[in-house]
Subunit: 143 residues, 2 copies
């Protein structure tokens, strides 16, 4: 029986963000990382990644269905392509709307579309901007 604390996590996109996330989560969870490009997994094999990788055409929803996404506790959609991320999030919810997912939005101007579709999103650029503005407030305090 699988420990309830150990989760089955799918990460779509093995770029810099996806690979770092995979390495961190694979310490405590069952992680499958998906990318269309096999060489992207080099980011994992060079480090302490304990999990599975699968080369899948991320544009092929049928291929994604074969990945047991139904059983995932969480799916992270973190490719650099906002349109693909949106399509994937939307398509996965069509398969099973109960699946928890988080989709990356790179372009803050596209955020509204994700929100309107009720897709759980995160926007690294916006988070960085907020963090950097806070840095400026620290300068304020010193003046």
């Amino acid at each position: 029986m699988r420990d309830r604390k150990t989760k089955f996590i799918i990460i779509i996109g093995c770029g810099r963000l996806g690979s770092e996330l995979a390495i961190k989560l694979s310490k405590n969870h069952n992680v499958v990382v998906i990318d269309k490009d096999e060489t992207s997994f080099e980011r994992l094999t060079k480090r302490n990644f304990i999990g599975f990788t699968r080369v899948v055409d991320t544009n092929d929803m049928a291929a994604l269905k074969d990945l047991n996404i139904d059983k995932a506790d969480m799916i992270y959609i973190v490719t650099p392509d906002d349109n693909l991320n949106f399509m994937l999030a939307y398509g996965i919810r069509e398969i099973n709307e109960e699946i928890k997912l988080a989709a990356r939005v790179n372009d803050p101007l596209k955020k509204a579309i994700f929100i309107k579709a009720n897709v759980n999103l995160f926007c690294p650029i916006e988070d960085s901007v907020n963090q950097l503005v806070e840095e400026l407030d620290k300068v304020d305090e010193k003046i």
Copy 2:
């Protein structure tokens, strides 16, 4: 007389992060955005940016010296190139070690080098990973 609350800010790198930061800060501060590629400023001209842009070879420290960086309250170094960001941060501090700056590190593995050189850094990838791990904790609570 310049309002003490209004600051002179230099942003080096007008990619997605640099441009969003520039748009936000330009509402309240004097902002100069620098990039080696003039077309990158299109990200600003299409939006509500109220500030200055300058095409400068970011690899040319002498050209950067001409930008009154000495007078900046804050310099954000946010190009996508970690090596350039490190060199710029280091070089700017050589000119004036009192200047407040924040340099972007894209590769978490390079973070240690910035820390060792005592360069104020931020690492968007790492911040995103932490945020996404928190999303997983939310799933935990629901189980």
